[in-house]
């Protein structure tokens, strides 16, 4: 009941906090417009032209399916990476040996350029869905894994002792002790992984897929259509912002209510 009565106020406060973000985006658009006026529409179409092209693309029947294909690939890959990375990172963090063994491996996998994975994926899975999703998974999992590992390692040993003295069963040790602490390390990792997933999807599609935003970008590039290219980029960024601020951020606020609010 309490959470229901709290919800409208929380939503309003959240929306109000969006003004800062909107102001910052407007400033960015202004700089973009200035750049467009200096370099001309062939090199850098302004925000007006870009959004006009984008709305044209969205009104036609071509853009939405491409965006959906890319979104599906990014979200499937991200979901797999989040599930696998969070669980493995938490488990590895529980053991000192496992964390020592996995740390250099994380460095290795984080340092591996996604483009190299794309090449390997093309060799292993051929052209299409599997290659793109695979690349997203291998690029995002180490990010999530590192966050979960770090979170698990940093749980206050005083709280661990508390759990042992009160003889918490394993599922309580996990859900009441570790997870609430680890989540505050996982959220930033998930958001980084979200950004990475879209970047990697577009890059992998550009090279390996016949459809999706990446493939569409390849086409607009070959037509020297800068406005369309910018339109696609803006569409991807819009989706990225929507997932972060409409999905992840409200979820984080709800889960982390216990934190001291400044």
């Amino acid at each position: 009941m309490r959470s229901l009565s709290r919800a409208p106020a929380a939503v309003l406060a959240y929306l109000w906090s969006g003004w800062g973000a909107i102001a910052s985006l407007c400033l960015f658009a202004a700089l973009w417009q200035a750049g467009a006026q200096v370099y001309g529409p062939l090199v850098l179409p302004g925000p007006g032209d870009t959004f006009a092209t984008l709305s044209g693309m969205l009104a036609g029947s071509t853009a939405i399916p491409e965006l959906l294909v890319s979104a599906r690939r990014a979200m499937v890959g991200l979901a797999l990476a989040v599930a696998v990375g969070s669980v493995l990172g938490l488990v590895a963090g529980l053991s000192l040996t496992a964390s020592m063994v996995s740390r250099p491996l994380v460095t290795l996998f984080l340092g591996m350029p996604p483009i190299a994975w794309v090449v390997l994926a093309m060799l292993w899975f051929g052209m299409g869905d599997a290659s793109v999703v695979f690349t997203v998974v291998v690029a995002c999992t180490p990010i999530v894994f590192a966050g979960a590992l770090q979170g698990t390692r940093t749980l206050d040993h005083q709280l661990k002792d508390l759990g042992r003295v009160y003889r918490l069963p394993w599922h309580m040790t996990l859900l009441d002790l570790y997870v609430p602490h680890v989540v505050s390390y996982l959220f930033p990792a998930w958001i980084t992984a979200l950004g990475t997933s879209w970047k990697v999807v577009v890059m992998a599609e550009l090279l390996t897929a016949p459809d999706g935003v990446g493939a569409a970008l390849a086409v607009s590039r070959s037509h020297l259509d800068t406005a369309a290219s910018m339109g696609w980029i803006v569409a991807v960024l819009g989706l990225l912002l929507a997932v972060e601020y409409l999905l992840l951020e409200p979820f984080r606020r709800e889960v982390e209510r216990w934190r001291v609010t400044a």
């Binding site: 309490r2 005083q158 709280l159 002792d161 508390l162 042992r164 003295v165 009160y166 003889r167 918490l168 069963p169 309580m172 009441d176 002790l177 609430p180 602490h181 209510r257 216990w258 934190r259 001291v260």
Partner: protein
């Protein structure tokens, strides 16, 4: 299960029985030759200077450490514990923090919240406090919650690791009263650590003096007067008399140990 480490063969022990216990951190011996018994319902205070191994001994009893040598048979099953800091889970409300031990014992949600709420009210917390997260509570409130969490499980053994040392006099007196009432009602055994002699004299049936290098028990004092009839004057007098004991003066590094001249009727030496 490591709290059952090296249990002697035979029937399970009632209470706590420690024989020839030593403990080392690496090469440093922190406890040596500890023999200690704690009967059900008894309150035992461990006093001694910092670094004499009091906390280590408590951690061994709590099952957080395994003794390097010796036997530790712990027949207590419901253990409540208060640490130096409240150690509340920051992501749980006051009520859920108090109910933690009940949840660990598998009590149904409605039951445990009801019992935790009753405990919270008994400790002087309001319904509003119960819904708060720990960061919104004052230090004194947090100590109340930690006390509630330890008492609500109706512990047969209560471990106290100097939980009251940072509190003001008034709050201390109030929490002592609540603690003693509940301990008497449930019949809990208490093992408490303190370096406050007055606190030990106020609450304990028996006081064990520890000395460092390595940590060992050097003297035992039995307080014959029942807790209920102890007056402030008696507590001050007895604490003063304990301060005269050679082991206590040596242990706390007070000026030259004076010979113990005559023990009060209340405090008998071993």
């Amino acid at each position: 299960m490591n709290h059952l480490h090296a249990v002697e063969a035979g029937a399970p022990t009632a209470g706590l029985r420690i024989r020839g216990l030593s403990h080392r951190y690496g090469l440093t011996e922190v406890l040596a030759g500890i023999d200690l018994d704690l009967a059900p319902g008894e309150t035992l205070a461990l006093i001694g200077p910092s670094g004499c191994g009091k906390s280590t001994l408590l951690h061994l009893v709590a099952g957080l450490l395994v003794p390097s040598e010796g036997t530790l048979a712990n027949g207590f099953r419901r253990i409540g514990c208060m640490f130096q800091q409240p150690r509340l889970l920051p992501w749980k409300s006051t009520l859920d923090n108090i109910a933690l031990g009940l949840k660990a014992r598998g009590e149904a949600r409605a039951d445990r919240r009801e019992r935790a709420a009753a405990m919270a009210r008994w400790l002087g917390l309001t319904d509003e406090d119960m819904a708060k997260f720990p960061h919104a509570l004052s230090g004194g409130m947090q100590s109340r919650v930690a006390l509630g969490r330890a008492l609500v499980v109706a512990p047969d053994l209560l471990l106290l690791d100097e939980p009251f040392s940072a509190l003001d006099v008034g709050l201390k007196a109030e929490l002592y009263g609540l603690l003693r009432a509940r301990v008497a009602e449930v019949g809990s055994a208490v093992l408490m650590i303190t370096h406050d002699l007055m606190e030990a004299v106020r609450l304990a049936d028996r006081i064990l003096m520890m000395a460092p290098g390595p940590g060992r028990l050097v003297r035992s004092f039995t307080l014959s007067q029942p807790q209920a009839v102890r007056s402030e004057a008696w507590i001050y007098r007895t604490a003063g008399e304990l301060m005269e004991a050679e082991e206590v003066r040596l242990g706390f590094g007070l000026a030259d140990a004076r010979p113990a001249n005559g023990w009060p009727a209340a405090a008998g030496g071993r």
